[in-house]
């Protein structure tokens, strides 16, 4: 928990090669420690040694990320936004994707040069090949020229646009890499009096300028103007924008539109088809050299766009963000059409196909034995060139599903099958390309829809000193589900950390990349947790602890260096010996996870022991949390008594953050074990704490508890308290609970109002449920039309629980109104939902309805569906109904089998009924023995309704058979 009064100020940085984001503290004195005074990541530290032990034992590098704490100042959040923009750029722009591949290939080449195992790193070549280092470095120089280069001016004449000022313009310029390769394009020129400033349109300047402008718009800060040349930093962040501004300001009605047009221009420039030469569809067009340049080089594109846009209507938007997005889209389409450039959607789809090829070819070896691979689909995908796949990405869908499976790990103790470094980030790039290929103008100006940025480009690893965090923005499952390759952001952090560790390899060094070479500090989770850095040297205490915990010299670097076979021989031998008894698979130098069950068992015991040690320490900063976490663990293991004691200890600690949470959990436990008074008291403590997060939740839960206990007044008051808190998550839930309470009490008017409140919240989880219940309340009030409308609304919501429930309720309503067709359709909807609660009973009712209409086949099918559901209540009913139907149809063998199914269910009501009915059937067939046995079974059931009848039936049967002895037995 945080202290909201403290604000932390930070600048940001994201790495091209590792995609790690660093937050760099500002606002302190120059000699003050730059680390942030965040509260200790106590949860992470408590479990550190156990995770480290498991990692050492199984060869899996466990990286625990907690969420970035609250407290970042508003301007720092804007910096985080800035880095998120860069992250989106790095993932989705073709030039930067290619750069990332080059960087990976360089790593592979260097690892191979040092005798390591390059196959464990993704790259441009297939897994069993590596490009020569010299070629890779040549490409790197070419890329550096595009990224950072200063161009050579070809023609000093400045080109301006009509009506524009004479203080800015473009010049034709060439980027030249050290090998002499020339890349024609443009550069910007700014005049300060008579003194010119050349603004290179290199990629870094363009990226920074765009990110800075969108950041300022996000903050609501004024856009910059360069009154003087400024520092190199100012030129980098403001230069490209200033050129655009001076050239175009006279054409735009508002500065906002001017800025949007700039952002759209840069985004369009970066949508360059960098691999156009491999695209057969463009072969003819690219024969024109200037067109080829314009299609492929970002620095050239920006100049062309600046000139072309002067011939077109300026971008014009209203204040609403939707209009702005349309305006951006129009601007980009108009420019592309004017310049006859290929559709950028195709460019992104091409990159998606290209990267998919690269990813499969460099990582398939790691998972093809353990993941289901459709060989035909694989062959088709790999043999179809990217330019053909760009027109039909559906061919790659099976490959994407395969890749998803390769990244899946069933537990943190067992690594995923695909452990090739960089594979996850490449997968994310593929998903980003597909996303961009669907025309996403919001990404040109992310400040217009920051939510889109947060959903799709959540930063995978935010490093603050030696702590790693997840981005504050949490992506939703819906957005994850819509991505081409569904890889949760947290899975990407592994790649980021591993690539960071390997950075020194680029300069032929062996040390860990998490050690800052300039400050000699290790920015590492192991150091943050007190385990020290084996490379920098361990203290005696650290050595001893590592031995005790069986972590030894395990750390992120050890893991990566073993995988890449760059570890010294002594380290390799040491760890192979330790893993000798565990399952180790190929390739050499790459350890695999050990047997799952034994590890997990051991893990749970060690966690408990660790928590107990922390509790016994009495340390006020960690003991309460340890007690709380121990309570959760014991509760999950079914040790209610132990969990109760742990939660009580955490509650009694009085810790402002933990005590209310523990009190809440304690009441859950007490309630579930029948201690209602204790639960009520625990509730009240949690409410009285006034904790903004816990009090509303406790109030809502108290309302539920009191409702169950019959204290309606108390429940009502508790629910109202939770509603009045205005908590966005709890208030709708409480309104829903209040509605149900009032419904039970017969206050239908009150229930309607409460449900309406829950509906009006728009809460995606609660509103549909409240709608169904509103329907019920309306139905009970006799408002059938209103009820139907409410049910239909709930059905249309598609809510997984509410929609089937509403369909079932609607079906019942329609059936009572005599609308058999409508009822059938609604029952069918409920059945088709597959909802575990509604589908079986809807199937039974549908079967009955169809049976009454004479649709025997339909009825049988419906009953069978209910039987197959295995629902404990409905399956026996359905089996019994089916048996009766089959008996009616003369299928006596089928009927007997169905009766037996109903009997075997053991249902207290249906089984005896089925038994006696079977007995009658057998008696009718002359199977006296069978009938006797069935009647006896029905008697033995003790069912109050059936047993007496069964006795009578058995007596009659025996009488028919004759024998006083048998008659006595029946009595």
């Amino acid at each position: 928990m945080t202290e909201p009064s403290i604000e932390w100020h930070a600048e940001g940085k994201i790495s091209f090669t590792t995609l790690v984001t660093d937050l760099l503290r500002t606002g302190q004195s120059v000699l003050d420690d730059g680390s942030f005074p965040f509260p200790d990541a106590r949860a992470a530290q408590l479990t550190f040694w156990n995770l480290a032990h498991v990692g050492a034992e199984t060869g899996v590098d466990n990286i625990l990320l907690t969420e970035l704490p609250d407290g970042l100042s508003k301007d720092s959040l804007a910096r985080l936004f800035h880095e998120r923009v860069h992250y989106a750029q790095l993932l989705s722009y073709p030039l930067l994707q290619l750069k990332f591949l080059h960087e990976l290939e360089e790593l592979r080449a260097r690892v191979a040069q040092r005798g390591g195992e390059p196959a464990v790193i993704c790259g441009e070549t297939d897994s069993d090949r590596t490009a020569p280092l010299s070629e890779v470095l040549q490409e790197k120089q070419f890329m550096s020229a595009i990224m950072e280069g200063s161009p050579k001016v070809d023609d000093p004449d400045i080109v301006t646009i009509p009506g524009g000022g004479r203080d800015a313009g473009l010049v034709r310029a060439q980027f030249i890499d050290p090998s002499g390769r020339q890349m024609p394009g443009f550069a910007g020129v700014l005049l300060f009096g008579e003194s010119p400033l050349l603004v290179p349109f290199n990629a870094s300047n363009m990226l920074e300028s765009a990110a800075y402008v969108t950041q300022l718009l996000f903050e609501g800060a004024p856009l910059p103007r360069m009154a003087e040349k400024g520092s190199p930093s100012e030129q980098r962040y403001k230069g490209c924008w200033e050129v655009w501004r001076r050239m175009n300001a006279h054409r735009y009605g508002t500065e906002n539109d001017l800025a949007l047009a700039f952002l759209a221009a840069v985004d369009l420039a970066f949508s360059a088809h960098v691999l156009a030469l491999q695209d057969g569809a463009l072969k003819t067009a690219l024969e024109r050299a200037d067109y080829s340049v314009a299609v492929r080089y970002v620095h050239a594109r920006l100049g062309y766009i600046m000139l072309a846009s002067a011939a077109l209507d300026p971008l014009d938007s209203s204040d609403s963000s939707n209009e702005a997005l349309h305006a951006i889209q129009k601007f980009q389409h108009d420019c592309s059409d004017y310049l006859s450039w290929p559709d950028t959607g195709r460019t992104y789809r091409f990159m998606a196909a290209f990267l998919t090829h690269r990813l499969i070819r460099s990582s398939l070896w790691s998972f093809e034995q353990t993941v289901d691979v459709d060989k035909d689909a694989l062959r088709t995908a790999l043999l179809t060139p990217p330019d053909e796949l760009a027109d039909n990405l559906d061919v790659l869908v099976p490959m994407w599903r395969m890749l998803e499976a390769s990244f899946h790990s069933s537990t943190p103790d067992v690594g995923s099958p695909n452990y090739v470094i960089g594979s996850r980030l490449l997968a994310k790039m593929i998903a980003s390309s597909v996303f961009r290929g669907s025309d996403q103008p919001a990404l040109a100006a992310p400040h217009l829809q920051p939510q889109t940025l947060r959903e799709y480009f959540q930063l995978p690893c935010v490093r603050v000193g030696d702590q790693y965090y997840m981005d504050t923005a949490v992506g939703s499952l819906e957005s994850l589900a819509r991505q081409a390759i569904r890889i949760p952001t947290i899975n990407l952090s592994v790649d980021c950390i591993q690539l960071a560790i390997l950075e020194p390899v680029r300069s032929n060094q062996s040390q860990c990349g998490l050690i800052d070479p300039l400050t000699r500090t290790a920015n590492c989770y192991y150091v943050a947790s007190g385990a020290g850095c084996p490379q920098l040297g361990l203290t005696k205490a650290q050595q001893e602890r590592r031995i005790t915990e069986q972590v030894y010299d395990w750390c992120h670097w050890a893991n990566v260096s073993l995988w890449t076979a760059l570890a010294p021989d002594s380290l390799q031998l040491e760890w192979r010996e330790r893993w000798r008894t565990t399952q180790i698979n190929q390739p050499s130098g790459a350890p695999q996870a050990a047997a799952y069950l034994g590890v997990v068992q051991k893990y749970a015991q060690r966690v408990k022991a660790a928590f107990q040690r922390a509790i016994d320490s009495g340390d006020a900063s960690i003991a309460p949390l340890a007690a709380y976490d121990l309570g959760l663990l014991l509760e999950s293991q079914g040790d209610a008594q132990g969990a109760r004691a742990a939660f009580q200890r955490a509650t009694d600690s009085g810790d402002a953050s933990i005590a209310p949470l523990a009190a809440y959990n304690l009441r859950v436990l007490l309630e579930s074990h029948g201690d209602a008074q204790g639960a009520r008291a625990a509730f009240q403590r949690a409410i009285d704490s006034g904790d903004a997060a816990i009090a509303p939740l406790a109030a809502e839960s108290l309302g539920l508890l009191l409702g169950y206990q019959g204290d309606m007044q108390g429940a009502r008051a508790a629910f109202q308290r939770a509603i009045d808190s205005g908590d966005a998550a709890i208030a709708p839930l409480a309104a829903f609970g209040l509605g149900r309470l009032l419904g039970y009490q017969g206050d239908l008017q009150g229930a309607r109002a409460a449900f309406q409140r829950a509906i009006d919240s728009g809460d995606a989880a609660i509103a549909p449920l409240a709608t169904v219940n509103l329907g019920l309340a309306l139905h009970h009030q006799g408002d059938a039309q209103g009820a139907k409308a409410a049910y239909q609304q709930a059905i249309d919501s598609g809510h997984a629980e509410a929609a089937p429930q509403a369909a079932y309720n609607l079906a019942l309503l329609l059936q009572t109104e005599g609308d058999a067709q409508g009822a059938k359709a609604a029952y069918q909807q409920a059945v088709d939902s597959g909802n575990a609660d509604q589908a079986p009973k809807a199937a039974v009712n549908l079967g009955l309805l169809l049976q009454t209409e004479g649709d025997v086949q339909g009825a049988k099918a419906a009953y069978q569906q209910a039987i197959d559901s295995g629902d404990a209540d409905q399956a026996p009913k359905a089996a019994y109904n089916l048996a009766l139907l089959l008996k009616q149809q003369g299928d006596l063998d089928g009927a007997k089998a169905a009766f037996q199914q109903a009997i075997d269910s053991g249902d207290a009501d249906i089984a005896p009924l089925a038994t006696i009915t079977l007995g009658l059937l057998l008696q009718g067939q002359g199977d006296v023995q069978g009938a006797k046995a069935a009647f006896q079974q029905a008697i033995d059931s003790g069912n109050a309704a059936i047993a007496p009848v069964a006795k009578i039936r058995l007596r009659q049967l025996l009488q028919d058979q004759g024998g006083a002895q048998s008659t006595k037995e029946a009595h």
Binding site: E11, K13, G34, R79, V153, L191, E194, E208, S231
Partner: protein, 127 residues
């Protein structure tokens, strides 16, 4: 419309200045930024991110060379900033503790921040 531009972006100079003087006339923020090695500069920073990184580098480096710098400062009685920077540069050049950061901007930063402030908490071994 086109205009002939004057070639180049460097400011015109009336007389050559040495690096020390140039560094002393540069802002602290630019000096901090200049400490960041080229390989790191190429990353994507927020607007003052390079400065923030430079400050972290300065702190770490200063703490490594404090034992060299502070005695020099305590013993010298120079008022002239150029001379003081030059003296520090001469003392630190080639020191492994610098870790490859440029020594002139580093020394200029120490002087601009103020050695009395930086060495305030430093104590000689026999103090």
């Amino acid at each position: 419309m086109s205009i002939n531009i004057v070639e180049g972006t460097r400011p015109s100079m009336t007389e050559p200045k040495n690096d020390v003087e140039i560094s002393l006339s540069t802002s602290q923020d630019e000096l901090f930024a200049s400490l960041v090695p080229a390989s790191e500069r190429a990353e994507l920073y927020s607007f003052d991110g390079l400065v923030a990184r430079g400050r972290a580098i300065f702190r770490g480096t200063f703490l490594s060379v404090q034992q060299i710098v502070c005695p020099i400062y305590k013993k010298s009685d120079m008022d002239d900033e150029v001379q003081l920077v030059t003296l520090l540069v001469a003392s630190l050049a080639g020191q492994a503790a610098l870790g490859g950061i440029p020594v002139v901007p580093f020394a200029a930063l120490m002087v601009k921040i103020g050695l009395s402030r930086l060495c305030e908490s430093w104590k000689a071994p026999d103090d």
